[in-house]
């Protein structure tokens, strides 16, 4: 299955989700447990993607430079917790990554 088909399938499924209750509102009710679970999906997915992405970055650059992504994440976390803005993670984390990468032995 190519990337095109995957994206098409996700798009079609997402559209059907959007249409679902508009077409079936009188027949289906959402349980409270499913309602709660749906609110946890995005944070769980984001956390998993972030952790996986950072871990992959650390392993792909070699042991000598693995500290650079970790330093970037640490700086990003501090910036976000201090400012409350998720975009601070990029604004602080990327420069930190560039600086630490240039300082560490290659």
């Amino acid at each position: 299955m190519s990337a095109w088909i995957v994206i098409l399938a996700v798009g079609l499924g997402s559209y059907l989700f959007r249409l679902s209750m508009i077409l079936l509102i009188d027949r289906i009710t959402m349980s409270p447990q499913l309602d709660r679970a749906s609110g946890l999906v995005a944070p769980a997915a984001f956390a998993a993607l972030a952790a996986g992405g950072v871990a992959t970055a650390c392993t792909s650059v070699g042991a000598s430079q693995a500290a650079a992504p970790l330093a970037a994440v640490a700086a990003a976390l501090i910036a976000v917790l201090r400012t409350g803005s998720s975009y601070a993670a990029i604004l602080v984390g990327m420069p930190t990554l560039w600086i630490t990468t240039s300082l560490l032995p290659g």
Partner: protein, 246 residues
């Protein structure tokens, strides 16, 4: 069917109500465009996640998982799991769109995502004619759609020509770190985030990249073990999460 000419003031009002959302949405679109350009998939395919999926979280997940070589079925399932909340949005808007034409429902449903839901509900909550409220929803939703696709397109165009030393592939993980960091105050979300992160790292070498799906499931399960507390619903865009067109 709504009359856009007669209700042009409501269309404009909806667009104006969407502007605060765009401040958070446009940078996210640029980031997705950048990641699409950097990912090991055709840039056009990455951009097409905008009009086809039109939900930022699952667009990110789809692009990143395809780039990491995840099995297609895993990508589709994970991306759709992320979008399950769209069913809730659909249920929310259904009562406002009951009795409308099929054409309206098909178009309005396509544009339904976090910010358009918020702007739409604001309109339906006002004591105005339902046709005017539809126009307000459409005005905000169309502005969001155009801005979103433009932002992704600009990000993808600029991103393709940038040097590799910039390590732009790290922008999305950092953005996601920022997103989850803003949710750590909530006990259920905190447990969800920690467990999902830990499982994702432990399952990094899982076959077919099933670690992602496993991490999401583990995170949700862990979050559900936290007793829910009554919370006030946010009422202003600035207090919402920046999950967009997600």
């Amino acid at each position: 069917m709504i009359n856009l000419v007669a209700n042009r003031r409501d269309v404009a009002a909806g667009a104006r109500a969407m502007v605060p959302w765009l401040v958070g949405i446009v940078p996210f679109g640029l980031v997705i465009g950048l990641s699409a350009a950097q990912a090991d998939i055709p840039t056009l395919a990455g951009w097409l996640t905008g009009p086809l999926i039109y939900a930022g979280s699952s667009q990110v997940a789809t692009i990143e998982m395809l780039d990491n070589g995840a099995a297609p079925v895993v990508v589709v399932v994970a991306a759709l799991v992320i979008n399950v909340r769209l069913i809730l949005y659909s249920a929310t808007m259904a009562r406002h769109w009951r009795g409308t034409s099929w054409r309206w429902r098909f178009v309005a449903a396509y544009l339904l995502v976090d910010p358009s839901l918020a702007v739409g509900l604001d309109g339906y909550g006002r004591r105005i004619d339902r046709g005017r409220a539809h126009a307000r929803y459409l005005g905000g939703a169309v502005l969001l759609w155009v801005s979103w696709l433009a932002a992704i397109g600009i990000g993808a165009t600029v991103g393709a020509g940038l040097p590799t030393w910039l390590h732009l592939e790290f922008v999305i993980p950092l953005y996601l770190v920022g997103e989850v960091a803003t949710k750590l105050a909530d006990p259920a979300l905190r447990r969800t985030i920690f467990v999902a992160s830990a499982v994702a790292i432990l399952a990094l070498s899982a076959p077919l990249h099933l670690g992602m799906a496993l991490a999401i499931a583990a995170g949700i399960t862990a979050g559900l073990t936290v007793r829910p507390v009554e919370r006030l619903e946010p009422t202003h865009p600035s207090r919402q999460t920046t999950e967009v067109p997600r």
